[in-house]
């Protein structure tokens, strides 16, 4: 079928065919954009603060009385990337168990949040921390002292978990 009627060229009026006014209009449009506010975030100076729903670096909750973790090993068991390693030990406190060793390999972690979901004590949660930079593989394996974060800093996430889980 040979379509020759009602083409784009035929629908244009005289001023559109002359083309120059339309170019001027286009230039005006882009000139307008120049003075509009920018969308760019100037990253190192302007840091983005995520919401409570953000799944950042997994951390251990640390209350005033001590850690919540009872070293049940469920997180280590459920972790699809095998990033978590837990070694349990006994203690005199009323929880009776605690982890002597708790390591998360951040090069393996895929931020799925399964560890948080499976945890019976709400001891491991995802934080808002996304500035993850390491200079060696050894440095990327976070030990317990780097993982423990005071509970006051994790209120947004705990609130989110209470509401939606």
């Amino acid at each position: 079928m040979n379509i020759t009627k009602n083409t784009e060229a035929e629908r244009m009026n005289f001023w559109e065919k002359i083309y120059i006014p339309e170019i001027a209009r286009g230039l005006g449009l882009t000139l307008n954009q120049v003075f509009k506010p920018k969308f760019t975030r100037q990253y190192p100076e302007e840091v983005w603060e995520p919401e409570g729903s953000y799944r950042g670096r997994p951390v251990l909750v640390k209350e005033e009385t001590g850690e919540r973790c009872v070293a049940c090993g469920l997180c280590s068991r459920v972790c699809p990337a095998l990033a978590i390693e837990v070694q349990a030990s006994e203690t005199e406190k009323d929880k009776e168990r605690y982890p002597v060793k708790f390591e998360i390999n951040m090069l393996r972690c895929i931020f799925c949040g399964f560890c948080e979901e499976v945890c019976p004590e709400e001891a491991i949660v995802m934080s808002k921390d996304y500035h993850l930079v390491f200079q060696s593989q050894e440095e990327a394996i976070l030990s317990k002292d780097k993982l423990e974060v005071p509970i006051a800093k994790l209120q947004d996430r705990l609130e989110f978990l209470r509401q939606y889980r």
């Binding site: 120059i20 170019i23 230039l27 882009t30 954009q33 120049v34 506010p37 920018k38 969308f39 100037q42």
Partner: protein
């Protein structure tokens, strides 16, 4: 001192000055391009390297220096190497006939020397030389496309030559109107037809707001559009159309060879802006009488003021070039040819006829 040594020293200083100026201009244009395109797209653009990101183009070029220079195995090595050199060399060569300001005089003790800013601004085939050089420039692109032995590069090169042929015609014809008007306003004694093609003469004849854009609006428009096509920019950047031809003629280039094409493109932009300024916007003429500055002809400060005015006009035009590039979509190939042969060529012929009739019968 003998005359020859004077000429040699003068030319050497001018050559170094002009080469530095073109390379700096290219760097500035790269910066402006990135910044203006960013502003048009509601971004900031490069603002980290140096104050306001001003050193970004130098960082870019430095990076290109460090890149590996890859040549495809099946490429024609000689032409692959020569192509970017032709591109950049031609761009630089055009500047030899472009007058950057009026002359200034220096007293050497023995004689008073007239020094023009520009290597040969008074050469009497000035504009023909420019047309010839810009035509040779297409060899660079076509050879690059052909010698790469890559079908996309070849297509880019072929498109470039076809485009150049189509638009050079109307470009050359639109200038005839300018030459007619320029000769009418000639400041030379007894209105002779000598030295009409010299770019400095064309500028001199536009003194006192007799800018050719006022008398040749149609010619200006045709020349402007042709200049866009000649520089392979904006709506006519078919030779390097990224979405369809990967990278066009420079697909197979890397490192500083690519950098040379890059510099040549922006150098070409500066050249086109300079030509439009010279032919239609009064060249180095100040937009007000030079007596306002209290300077007489021949003083070095007046020459500097004229140079500044010329530079300002070039930069404004270059910003316009960039603005157009980020506003208007690319032409299709058949639309490009239609515009060139069916619209621009008849219009430029019409322009010559009208100019001729008006000058012959009404003045």
């Amino acid at each position: 001192m003998p005359e020859l040594i004077w000429i040699l020293i003068e030319t050497l200083i001018k050559a170094v000055f002009i080469l530095t100026m073109i390379l700096l201009a290219a760097a500035t244009l790269v910066y402006l391009e990135r910044r203006i395109s960013a502003f048009i797209q509601n971004r900031y653009g490069p603002n980290r390297v140096g104050p306001f990101g001003l050193l970004q183009p130098f960082a870019d070029v430095f990076k290109l220096f460090l890149k590996e220079d890859l040549v495809p195995k099946v490429a024609d090595k000689r032409f692959h190497r020569i192509a970017p050199i032709i591109s950049l060399g031609v761009t630089l060569a055009v500047y030899s006939v472009i007058p950057l300001s009026n002359y200034f005089t220096i007293d050497t003790g023995e004689s008073v020397r007239k020094i023009y800013l520009g290597i040969a601004p008074n050469v009497n085939i000035g504009f023909l030389f420019v047309l010839a050089m810009t035509s040779v420039g297409v060899y660079g692109i076509t050879l690059a496309g052909w010698s790469s032995n890559n079908k996309y590069s070849l297509l880019g090169g072929l498109r470039s030559s076809a485009q150049m042929i189509s638009y050079e015609l109307s470009m050359g014809l639109s200038v005839i109107g300018v030459l007619l008007v320029s000769n009418y306003f000639t400041t030379a004694p007894n209105g002779s037809w000598t030295n009409t093609l010299s770019l400095n003469t064309i500028v001199l004849n536009q003194s006192g707001w007799k800018w050719n854009i006022i008398f040749q609006p149609l010619g200006f428009l045709i020349f402007l559009v042709s200049a866009f096509a000649e520089t392979n920019r904006a709506p006519f950047d078919l030779p390097e159309a990224e979405p369809e031809l990967v990278g066009g003629f420079n697909t197979e280039y890397s490192g500083m060879k690519f950098g040379m094409f890059f510099l040549a493109e922006y150098g070409n932009m500066a050249t086109s802006a300079a030509l439009i300024t010279l032919l239609f916007l009064g060249g180095w003429q100040l937009p007000f009488p030079s007596s306002w500055l209290g300077l007489t002809e021949g003083s070095i400060w007046l020459a500097l003021a004229q140079f500044t005015s010329f530079l300002l006009k070039i930069i404004l035009l270059a910003i316009f070039f960039i603005w157009v590039r980020w506003s208007i979509p690319r032409f299709r190939y058949d639309q490009l040819m239609n515009l060139g042969w069916k619209i621009m060529l008849p219009l430029s012929l019409l322009n010559i006829v009208i100019t001729g009739i008006v000058l012959q019968f009404f003045f």
